[in-house]
């Protein structure tokens, strides 16, 4: 088996997209790891939909305060300048376009950037949480996910078969194999995991990938 990038590395690569001073919301799972992986020298204001702006890293066991959590139910640390607000105000912020970047997990992303990240056919009682609001309202949607399912099937597909979160919202997909940009012309392979070829990544991706002229290896 060829090596794939681990979750920390995928999150680290996604976090490199955060520009200095940006307001960023992190989804459940791999995205939440980004809070601990900010590129050095940049100030990022993390917003979480439960009503907090400007928290720090994930809390250690000694630091845990369950009235200071992110939307993944993980205690986080306070930072100077942090503020709190209620859920209605939080989603005004989200729908109103005041969040620069949201990083979300996904079951599937389509060739057009449709996102499916909440509904599992085998788990009809699971809900979308704030995913639809975030995918609709954030200025830029970055997806972090494993490139394939446990069975090895592509998660980047021509059309999503899982329930849609929002249409044509994804701008960038960071997986354990590749960094792919969603453009008007289709999906563009920008970066590739060390040791993998374009053909190998294409074989695990349903839609055709255009290859960027400056295709690079994913470096950290």
């Amino acid at each position: 088996m060829k090596m794939r990038l681990d979750e920390q590395v995928v999150a680290l690569r996604a976090a490199r997209e955060f520009e200095d001073g940006s307001v960023v919301n992190l989804g459940y799972g791999m995205p939440a790891l980004c809070a601990n992986l900010i590129p050095e020298g940049r100030t990022i204001f993390f917003q979480s939909e439960n009503g907090i702006l400007g928290y720090g890293s994930l809390a250690t066991d000694e630091e845990k305060d369950y009235e200071l959590i992110n939307a993944s139910d993980q205690p986080v640390t306070p930072l100077a300048g942090m503020c709190f607000f209620d859920s209605a105000a939080s989603f005004d912020m989200i729908r109103g376009g005041h969040i620069d970047i949201v990083v979300l997990g996904a079951y599937q992303v389509s060739a057009k950037g449709d996102l499916a990240n909440w509904g599992r056919p085998d788990r009809p009682a699971t809900g979308m949480g704030g995913g639809m609001d975030l995918a609709t309202g954030a200025k830029k949607v970055i997806v972090t996910m494993l490139h394939t399912t446990k069975e090895g099937k592509p998660r980047i597909v021509k059309e999503c078969t899982y329930p849609i979160t929002a249409r044509q919202c994804v701008a960038l997909i960071v997986t354990d194999l590749a960094v792919i940009e969603v453009s008007k012309q289709g999906l563009v392979l920008k970066e590739i995991a060390p040791g993998w070829t374009v053909e190998e990544v294409q074989a695990l991706t349903e839609p055709r990938l255009a290859v960027a002229a400056d295709l690079k290896e994913i470096t950290l």
Partner: protein, 237 residues
Amino acid sequence: MAVQKVYSSPDDALADIFDGATVMIGGFGSFGGLPINLITALSRQGAKNLTIIANAGGVGFELSKRIKPEGYQDIGILFEKGQVKKFIGSMPALGGMPPTAPIEKAYNKGKIAIEMVPQGTLAERIRAGAGGLGGFYTPVGVGTIVEAGKEKKLINGKEYILELPLVADFALIKAHKADTLGNLVYRGTARCFNPVMAMAARVTIVEVDKLVPPGELDPEAVVTPHVYVDRVVEVTK
């Protein structure tokens, strides 16, 4: 003289919740912000056929240990006791947890109905209900199952769907401090859904960590004005 709002126990504060009532329950989902003492009192009180409006359906005591090692009771107990007929919220069950939460078991057995609402739409529907509005148009859910059966409208070239207000007979709320008039302040991310729900129910019942006399809360810091609050009970942490 002002109405007496202070109750001596959670059980006294919600004794009149009736069968078939619609009850909003504040919090986000996990431990912080949930009115746990009121929830467990409602489970003892036993009202049935409830419609519960809450962000999350809870995970139940066993799974809660994955969030907080010592575990805690949440909305799950109301499903375990068979008190709920319908749940309205954004995260009935969590995909990141095993499928053993009480709400998920109840739903899979066909015992409850679920209305799935995007989280921001849920907050705004409650705020609309609180503020006497007939609804609002939102872009969230366009092109998804959420738009099914809803009026759609083009506004400035963009598609929106109409969402209707939510109100309740009772709201169970967690705040950090209240004065005896019912003014509320919150702590940290425990604020979340509590302030909007506190405004949207006919009877709003609040549990607080600390009850103080009028004048002790900074008027500039009050989040929920006392006009929205009907009953307050101080609980020990």
